[in-house]
């Protein structure tokens, strides 16, 4: 049976994500990074603040980065996607650094961006490793004030725009996909998308 480790940084709701992924494999909540890296897939959940999550993962950043670079399937959701970068304006602390760049505040009057927004898929043709074949999700639930700002945009698969500020909403590097919105909160279509991404990554192992 496929095992999926949901890394617990110590705060927030992990139920929905765990439940949403249950049809892909056996999901277990892991507080220990080394233990989590032994699973078939690593999931970095999307609740909490960057600093808090970074302080949990920073001691293992090299270990996590190597595992992901070597092709361990991984999905980072919201904050979990932001952790894939080097650093964040939100708070001090080092991210995993799989994707070069930083996390910045959205340039908008009303923040957090809270609600349903369009996912704009990038039309540029890409080699398969930097794209996704799963059916596209058109509208998704976002709850964030910060977004990824990768130094190299070739990892960006989809974008979104809040009050005129455009930012990556889905990125892919190796077998890791970062998702800025919450697919597990985007109703049935979101759950189908999430499971589709997971299955696609697992098939690429």
């Amino acid at each position: 049976m496929t095992t999926i480790a949901l890394l617990d940084y110590g705060t927030g709701n992990l139920h929905s994500l765990a439940k949403a992924m249950a049809r892909v494999g056996e999901v277990r909540i892991a507080d220990d990074v080394s233990d989590a890296l032994c699973a078939d897939m690593l999931v970095l959940p999307g609740v909490g603040a960057f600093g808090q999550a970074a302080s949990e993962t920073a001691p293992f950043r090299g270990e996590i980065r190597s595992a992901l670079a070597e092709g361990l399937p991984c999905i980072g959701v919201c904050l979990g996607m932001q952790l894939l970068l080097d650093s964040s304006e939100e708070s001090a602390g080092e991210g995993i650094g799989l994707i070069g760049g930083s996390v910045r505040r959205i340039s908008a009057k009303r923040l957090p961006q809270m609600g349903w927004n369009s996912v704009d898929w990038d039309s540029v043709a890409r080699p398969s490793r930097a794209s996704l074949r799963v059916p596209r999700l058109e509208v998704a639930y976002f709850a964030n004030s910060f977004v990824a700002s990768p130094s190299d945009e070739s990892s960006v698969v989809a974008w979104a725009t809040h009050e005129g500020d455009r930012f990556p909403s889905v990125v892919r590097t190796a077998n890791t996909v970062g998702i800025q919105f919450h697919p597990e909160k985007s109703s049935r279509a979101g759950v189908d998308f999430l499971c589709g991404v997971a299955e696609e990554l697992l098939a690429c192992r």
Partner: protein, 253 residues
């Protein structure tokens, strides 16, 4: 494209059961918060709010069980409010499976609760819930279920809550609550202007036109309760009307 306007279905929960004006006659799910939330998701609700009105400890414990049962089957955001007093209460509710926690009276007696909770869990999961009653020249904040006046101006208090770390304001007009005369649009407009976080209009929804007016007045989201629970209308009908009115709302999947 910008954010879609949200419609939020609110359920009052007492000792684990939905109370107040729930009259679905032919459903076995009557009164079960998890089943009702799931039904509203299928109809196209953008979010669900559970407001715990239990007066007892056992009621609170039951609520956590209800939240965790709901989280197993609901795949839209769930906000839980009522009786949240401390950061550890916030933690318990989030751990049970809520995505956001609404803080009301406790924020008035201990404003730093908003800051502590926001720093620890992120502003996006802390909602400042404000019950306001109109008075000469504005609105006054009431606490303890709208029974106790605080002397605070509701607009000033909303601004302060956002400054302290709340990521969203849920503004309920006590005067309009349950009347179905429409939202207090002056209140909606003034609070939306005053804060830079999303605003949910609450209290008084009777039909799609009222929701439309709230959106036009600046609300990011509209809270509904009675008119959904008693079958006066449903989310599919409301959203179709709002789309015809030119509002950007999410179509049910």
């Amino acid at each position: 494209m910008t954010l879609l306007k949200r419609i939020i279905a609110c359920l009052d929960v007492d000792e684990g059961r939905v109370v107040k004006g729930v009259e679905f006659v032919n459903l076995t799910s009557v009164g079960d918060p998890a089943a009702m939330a799931e039904r509203y998701e299928a109809d196209g609700a953008d979010e669900i709010v559970f407001l715990d009105v239990s007066a007892t400890h056992s009621g609170r414990a039951t609520l956590l069980d209800v939240v965790s049962r709901t989280a197993q089957r609901l795949f839209i955001p769930l906000t839980v409010g009522g009786g949240v007093r401390t950061v550890s209460d916030v933690d318990l509710v989030l751990r049970a499976g809520a995505d956001k926690v609404a803080v009301n009276s406790a924020a008035v007696s201990n404003p730093l609760l908003l800051t502590e909770a926001s720093v620890r869990f992120g502003a996006q999961c802390i909602v400042a819930s404000i019950d306001a009653r109109s008075r000469e020249g504005g609105w006054e904040v009431y606490v303890n279920g709208g029974r106790v006046p605080t002397g605070l101006d509701a607009i000033d208090w909303a601004r302060r809550c956002a400054d302290l770390g709340a990521g969203e304001i849920l503004m309920t007009s006590i005067d309009r609550d349950g009347t179905r005369y429409g939202y207090d649009l002056d209140l909606v407009a003034q609070v939306s202007e005053a804060v830079n976080v999303p605003v949910i209009a609450s209290g008084g929804a009777g039909n799609a036109k009222h929701i439309s007016e709230a959106f036009t007045s600046g609300a990011d989201a509209a809270l509904l309760a009675g008119i959904l629970h008693d079958g006066t209308t449903d989310l599919l009908t409301l959203k179709a009307e709002l789309l015809r009115e030119g509002h950007t709302v999410r179509r049910a999947a």
